[in-house]
C-alpha cells in the first residue's frame, strides 16, 4: 500500500485505451465497473478528440457480483461488435474486474463474433502502469495481426509507438515521415496512431522500423525484429544532434550515406546569435518519461548551453539508461513516481528552469521557478492547435522557442538587475511577456503553504537556509536585492561556499566572495 496524491501514469488499461483510441477500426471491450468511464474524458477533453474512444465498458455493479458478471461481459461484447462493426477487438479487465477473475479473453474467444480477430490482454493492474499497458497492447495486436509477406519494392519503414494522448505524437510522426521521405524512404505504416487492424497486418512489408517512442512501442519493435527480420532504430530524433545521428543510424541500416536537407533548421543560429548569450549556464532540472528526458538533456546541454543540474524519470523501465546518462552528465538520477519527492529535489537543487511534465509545471508555479513542458503527462494547453513537433529539424526549432519562452528575456534581466527597486519594474513582477503568470512577491510565495500544509508538512521557502549556516541580516538584505530568477542560485552557491570553508555565518563579504568564486 502506497499513499499517492498525484500520479504520473494511469493504470495499464488506460495505456490500452491510448492504443485503441489512437487506432481506427479497433474496439476495446473493457470489463469494468461504473465510473471507469472517466477515462473517456482524457481523450475527449484533454486531447479534444471529436469522437468517443472506441471502448465499451461492461458497467457491473455490486448487486451483479453475487450472481453473474460473465453475461454482462458477453452482452457488452456482442452489442459492441454489432453496433460498431470493428475489424478486430481487444478485450480485457480493469483493476476491479481483474479481481473477480471472469477471464474476458477466454469468454470472447468462445463467442461467435463473425470471425473477427479477438485479442485478449493480460494487464496486471496492481503491478504495472499506463506505459506498460500501451506497450503490451500494441505488442499483442502486432503479434496477432502482422502476417509474413514480401518487402515493398521501394525502401520503406514503419513508425512505431505513436498513441492517443501522447506528447506531440501527431506532429512528430508527420515531421519524421517528411524527413524520411526526403531521404527517399516511404512510410509503410505508422502505428498505433491512425493505423487500422488491416494496416497492422501489412507491417512486415517494411524494410525496417523507426521506434519513435520506446515507452509505448519497444515490445512490438523487438517482436518485429525477431520474427520478421526488421531492424529498428534506437535513437530518438529530438534535437539537432540526435536528428543527425538518427539519419546516420537509418543510413547504417540501409547501407547508405544520407545528407538530409537542413535548410529549415534554425536552432543552431538562434542559439549562437548574441541575444542567446544570457542562456549560458542556466541551471535546469529535467523530469518526465525516460526517453524525453534523456533526449532533452542533450538538447539542454549541447544545443542551448544550459547546465543540467539534475534529471529523472517516473518510469522505472528507463531507470538503467537514464542512470548511465546522468552519471555521464555528473548528476544524480532521480527515479520515482512520487511527485513529492520530485518537488523536494527541485526545491533542494533550486534550478533556474524546470523541463518537466504538467506536475513539474505545478511544482514550478509553487516554487516560483519557470517550467517548460517536455513530456507526458500533459494537460489541454499542451495539445497546441498549431504544428509543433519536438522531433526532427522543425522540432529542434520548436524546442528553442519552448525553452526560451518561460525565461526572462536577456536584456530584461540586465534592466531588472540595474533598477531592481523601481516600483513598476521590480523583479517580483516576473517576465514581462507573461502577464497573467507572474510569480508573486517572495513573502507571498512563502505564505501560500498556509492553506493547510502539504502532506510532507509546511512548504519551505523556495531557497531555505542550510541547517547550520546563519545568514547575517546585511547579507540577507543584499540577497533579497538579487533578482528572483537568480536568487535561489545565489543563496545555494553562497551556502555551499560557506560550508566548504567551514563558515558558520554568512556576511555581506561571504556573499560577494561566493559571487566571485562562482563567476563565469
Amino acid at each position: 500500500m502506497k499513499l499517492t496524491v498525484w500520479t504520473y501514469e494511469g493504470p495499464p488499461h488506460v495505456g490500452a485505451m491510448r492504443v485503441a483510441t489512437g487506432m481506427k477500426g479497433l474496439h476495446y471491450i473493457l470489463h469494468a465497473p461504473q465510473g471507469d468511464t472517466y477515462a473517456d474524458l482524457l481523450f475527449t477533453m484533454i486531447e479534444r478528440r471529436n469522437h468517443r474512444p472506441p471502448v465499451s465498458y461492461t458497467t457491473f455493479q455490486a448487486r451483479d457480483l453475487g450472481s453473474d458478471t460473465a453475461h454482462l461481459f458477453k452482452d457488452a461484447c456482442q452489442d459492441a461488435v454489432d453496433r460498431f462493426q470493428p475489424e478486430a477487438i481487444i478485450v480485457g479487465a480493469s483493476c476491479t474486474a481483474e479481481l473477480i477473475q471472469d477471464d474476458p479473453g477466454g469468454m470472447a474467444e468462445t463467442m461467435d463474433l463473425g470471425g473477427i480477430p479477438v485479442i485478449p490482454l493480460e494487464l496486471p493492474s496492481y503491478q504495472r502502469k499506463e506505459n506498460f499497458g500501451a506497450d503490451e497492447t500494441f505488442y499483442q495486436i502486432v503479434r496477432t495481426l502482422a502476417k509474413p509477406q514480401e518487402r515493398t519494392e521501394r525502401v520503406s519503414c514503419n513508425i512505431l509507438g505513436g498513441t492517443a494522448l501522447g506528447f506531440r505524437h501527431r506532429d512528430d510522426i508527420q515531421e519524421i515521415t517528411a524527413l524520411l521521405y526526403d531521404l527517399g524512404i516511404d512510410v509503410n505504416v505508422a502505428a498505433p496512431l491512425d493505423a487500422t487492424p488491416a494496416d497492422i497486418a501489412r507491417m512486415p512489408a517494411a524494410h525496417f522500423n523507426v521506434l519513435l517512442y520506446p515507452e509505448t512501442g519497444e515490445a512490438a519493435a523487438r517482436f518485429l525484429e525477431k520474427n520478421h527480420g526488421q531492424p529498428y532504430t534506437k535513437i530518438v530524433p529530438i534535437g539537432v544532434g540526435a536528428t543527425r545521428d538518427f539519419v546516420g543510424e537509418v543510413g547504417k541500416i540501409l547501407g547508405k550515406n544520407f545528407s538530409p536537407d537542413e535548410s529549415r533548421l534554425r536552432l543552431p543560429w538562434w542559439s549562437a546569435s548574441v541575444d542567446s548569450t544570457y542562456l549560458t549556464g542556466k541551471r535546469v532540472f529535467l523530469f518526465g518519461d525516460g526517453s524525453h528526458v534523456m533526449a532533452m538533456a542533450r538538447v539542454a546541454r549541447d544545443e542551448m548551453g544550459f547546465e543540467v543540474v539534475g534529471m529523472g524519470c517516473f518510469n522505472r523501465e528507463m531507470a538503467r539508461p537514464l542512470r548511465t546518462m546522468a552519471k555521464d552528465y555528473g548528476v544524480e538520477a532521480l527515479i520515482t513516481d512520487d511527485y513529492l519527492e520530485v518537488e523536494a529535489t527541485i526545491e533542494r537543487l533550486a534550478p533556474e528552469m524546470i523541463m518537466g511534465t504538467q506536475m513539474e509545471r505545478h511544482i514550478g508555479k509553487r516554487l516560483g521557478i519557470p517550467c517548460a513542458v517536455i513530456s507526458a503527462p500533459v494537460h489541454v494547453q499542451d495539445f497546441p492547435a498549431r504544428y509543433s513537433p519536438v522531433m526532427g529539424f522543425e522540432g529542434a526549432n520548436v524546442l528553442f522557442d519552448t525553452l526560451v519562452h518561460p525565461l526572462v528575456m536577456g536584456l530584461e534581466e540586465h534592466l531588472l538587475t540595474m533598477f531592481r527597486d523601481d516600483f513598476e519594474f521590480h523583479d517580483a513582477a516576473g517576465p514581462s511577456h507573461h502577464g497573467g503568470h507572474s510569480p508573486k512577491p517572495l513573502e507571498e510565495v512563502e505564505n501560500t503553504g498556509a492553506s493547510g500544509g502539504s502532506i510532507v508538512g509546511q512548504m519551505k521557502d523556495g531557497a531555505h537556509p542550510a541547517d547550520n549556516v546563519i545568514w547575517l541580516s546585511d547579507a540577507e538584505r543584499e540577497l533579497k536585492k538579487i533578482p528572483f530568477f537568480v536568487r535561489g542560485k545565489a543563496r545555494r552557491n553562497t551556502e555551499a561556499f560557506a560550508a566548504d570553508r567551514g563558515l558558520a555565518e554568512i556576511s555581506l563579504d561571504t556573499l560577494y566572495e561566493a559571487k566571485a568564486h562562482y563567476a563565469r
Partner: protein
Amino acid sequence: MNAPTPPPGGGCRSAPVLKERGQREVFCGLTGIIWLHRKMQDAFFLVVGSRTCAHLLQSAAGVMIFAEPRFGTAILEEGDLAGLADAHVELDREVARLLERRPDIRQLFLVGSCPSEVIKIDLSRAAERLSQVHAPHVRVLNYSGSGIETTFTEGEDACLASMVPVLPETTARELLVVGALPDVVEDQMLALLSDMGVGPVRCLPARRIDHETAIGPNTQFILAQPFLGETHAALERRGATHIPAPFPFGEEGTTAWLKAIAQEFDVPPEAFAAATDAPRARARRAIAQASEHLNGRSIFFFPDSQLEIPLARFLTRECGMSAVEVGSPYIHDAIHGPDLDLLPAGPQISEGQDVDLQLDRVRAARPDLTVCGLGLANPLEAEGLATKWAIELVFTPVHFYEQAGDLAGLFSRPLRRKSLLKVEAAE
C-alpha cells in the same frame, strides 16, 4: 406568498419512467471528494483503492488542484491482495504517517473503492480501530465511494450519511440544512433564513468539526441538494423530520424552498416578504436577461448528478425551454417528487442509462442543448449538437436567488457561443 402553480397539463410525478440498464457514462462516487475536501477544511479523504482511483481523482477535476489537496489514495499493491491482515497493518501505518504529517486534520474519512469492496477490506472495522487510536483529536469515519455502489454525487450522500450516526443528540427544535454548498452560497442562505427569523440553523456538512451539528426528534431538516437519499434515510432513523420542497434553483425554486421552511417555523407572511421580495425581484430580472437565448429552445439531459429534474423544472418554467428527455441516475419520489409535480408533462423521464441507446435518442431528437458528461460533450459537439457539461453544475455556485441568473447563464453560454462563431470546424 403564493405556492408555485402546478402546470395546467399536469406534472411529471406520475409519468411513466424509462428504466435502462447498460453502459453508464458517469463518474463514480469518489468524485465527490473533489468538492468535499474543500468544503470541510479539517477533513482528509483517504481512498483505499487502486491506481485507477488516484487517476480518476486527478482527471475528474479537469485541472489538478495543486494547492495542498486534502485527499490521497492508498494504492493497493499485489501484496495487499494476497494477505488482508497485512492490508490492515499497512493502512494503520499509512494513516499514522499521514496524521503525524498533518496535525491540522481532525476528521479522516476512509473511502472504499471498487477494489477494496471486492476484496472485502472492512473499512468500518478499520475506522473503529483507528478512531480508538487517534481519539479524541481525530475522528475516523468510513464510507464507500465505489463505482459498484455509488454514482457520482451519491459519494457525497454516502459521506454525509456516514456522519449522521456520530452527531450528538439534541432535543432542540432546530433547522438542519443538508448538502455541501459553496461557502458564499451558504452564507447567503443563512442570511436569508436569519432575515426570516429562522434560527439557529445548522449545516451538514459543517465547515469544521468544531462547528458541531446536533440532531434529534425535534430536528427539522431540508435538503439543499437532490442527491441525498441515504442521508435522508439516516436522518429519519434518528428521528429528524424531512421538510419536502422543490430545490432552490431559480427564483421560483428558491422561494418555494424557503417557503416550506417558513411554514414549518411559522414565519409571518410579512417577515417572509420583507426578507425575500428584493432578492426575488433581482433574481427575476437576472433570469430574464440570461434566458433570452434559452426561450423556446429544447433541452435533453443525460443522467449525471441527480440535479437533472430540479434543473429541468427551472429551465422549463422560468427560462421558457422545453424538455425532450430528463435522465437521472436515480429517482427518489420523496426527494424529487415536489420538482416532478411542477415539471410540465411532456418529456421522457428516464432512470439509469444505456449510453448507446440514449445517444440514438438524442441524435433522433436533435435538441438545441444537451446536458451531458465530459466524455460525451466534444463528440456530440462534433455532430453539431450544442452541449453543456454537467459537471460544471456541481462545481459552480448555482443555488438561491443571487445565483439564479448565473445558472441560466451556464445554459445559455453554449448557445450564445454557437451563434457567435463564424467558422466551421475543418474535418
